[in-house]
Amino acid sequence: MRITLWGTRGSLATPGPETVRYGGNTSCVEVRGADGTFLVLDAGTGIRRLGATLGPEVERVHLLLTHLHMDHIQGLGFFKPLDQPGQEVHIWGPPSTTLDLRARLARYLSPPLFPVRLRDLPCRLTLHDVPLGDFEIGGLKITAALVCHPGPTVGYRITENAMSIAYLPDHEPALGAHHFLGEADWTSGFDLARGVDLLIHDAQYAAAEYPEHVGWGHSAIPHTLGFAAAAGVKRLVTFHHDPGHTDLVLDRLIEEARQSSDLLFQLIPGAEGASFEFGG
C-alpha cells in the first residue's frame, strides 16, 4: 500500500510563501493498493494535482469522502477523471438523515456554485452512500464509522493484508469529555485507529487555541497525541493544519509536541507531497 498526501491544510486553501513546506491545498490523500486498487480520500483542492498525474492506465477511481464540508469537496469539479468520457469513477460518502449522497453533492455541483451539473459529467459515475461497517474495494478492506464532527462525517480504516491505515481528517474526540482521554470504548474514532500502522489525524489547533473552538469539530495537537498513544498506533501524521499556521508556526508546534512527552509512536508532520509505503 502506498499513501501520498496531496493536501494537508484544513478549512481553507492557504497558498503563499509562508505555507510552501507543509502545503496550502486542502484535504486529499492517495492510496494505492499492491494490486493497483486506486483510492482517493477526500476531494479538497489537492485533488487537482493528483488528477493531473493520472494516465489512462487507471481503470477505475474510487473517491472516498469523509464528509461534505467545502474543504473536502472543493476540488471535485477539477479532478481530471470526472471529465474523461467513459472513465469509471465511484464516489463514496455519507448521506444525511434525509438526503442521499447524490442530492447532497448536487448542491455544490450545480449552478450557481459550479457551472456543470453532476449528471452532465462525461465519466461513468456511480455514487454510493457509504455503508457503515466493513466493505471491500479491490484488494483493500475498508471500514467506515461515524465520528465526532458537525454533520454526518465518517472516518476510514483501510487494511491490506496485515497493514492498516486510518484517516480521520476532521475529528474532535475531546468534545464534551470531562477528562480526555477517558475510557477507550467511550472515545469517538477509537476502533478505526486501534493499532494502525499509520494514523492520519486532525491536528488543527495549538492547545491554547482549543478553548475558543470547542465544538468546531477539530482537535488540539495534545488531543491528537493522546488519542494516537491510547490507540497504540505506530505512526501519526498530523493533518488538517489551521490556515493561520504558517510553516514556522507548524515547525514550532511539532517541536513542542515532540518534547511534551515520550512518544510511543513516530510523529510525522503532515506535509504536502509526503509519501509512505508499506509492504504486505
Binding site: P95, V147, G176, T187, G189
Partner: protein, 131 residues
C-alpha cells in the same frame, strides 16, 4: 470492549452536562450511563453501580404503580421505548438504593442513529409532586 457508536458517546456527554436526570441504555437494554442528577433520585453514584442488565435495573429500584402494585419491566417507559421503539411516559414510584421512595415522572424515547440504526433508549425523569 468495542467502542460505542458516536451518537451514544455524544448522548452520554450531553447527559453529563444537563441538569435533568437522564438514564441511557444500549440496544440490549444494558445500562450504559446515568448522570449526576439521576444519581440523586436513584440513591447511588453511577461509578458505584456500573453497567447493569435490563433485568437488574428494571427491578432493583422496585418500581410500583400509583396504586402501590408492583410494575413489571414491560410497563416501564424505558422498556417500552426500547422494545416497541416508540416514546413512552408514565408517573410511578421507585425506591432508591438509599432506601427512599420517590414519585417520578419518566419520559423515554428510542435512540435512532444515522442509517436507521437502533442504538438503545434514553429516559429523562423528574421527581413528581405528590398528587
Amino acid at each position: 470492549m468495542p467502542q460505542k457508536d458516536v451518537e451514544v458517546i455524544l448522548m452520554r456527554q450531553l447527559a453529563s452536562y444537563l441538569a435533568m436526570p437522564i438514564f441511557l441504555v444500549d440496544m440490549a437494554g444494558n445500562l450504559l450511563f446515568y448522570n449526576e442528577p439521576a444519581e440523586t433520585l436513584l440513591g447511588r453514584r453511577y461509578e458505584e453501580t456500573g453497567e447493569m442488565s435490563l433485568e437488574e435495573w428494571s427491578t432493583i429500584f422496585k418500581p410500583t404503580a400509583e396504586d402501590g402494585s408492583p410494575l413489571p419491566p414491560e410497563a416501564l417507559p424505558l422498556v417500552i421505548a426500547l422494545q416497541k421503539y416508540q416514546p413512552a411516559h408514565r408517573t410511578f414510584w421507585i425506591r432508591g438504593l438509599d432506601g427512599i421512595s420517590r414519585r417520578i415522572a419518566a419520559t423515554a424515547f428510542p435512540l435512532e442513529g444515522q442509517g436507521g440504526r437502533h442504538l438503545g433508549a434514553v429516559t429523562i425523569f423528574w421527581e413528581a409532586n405528590h398528587p
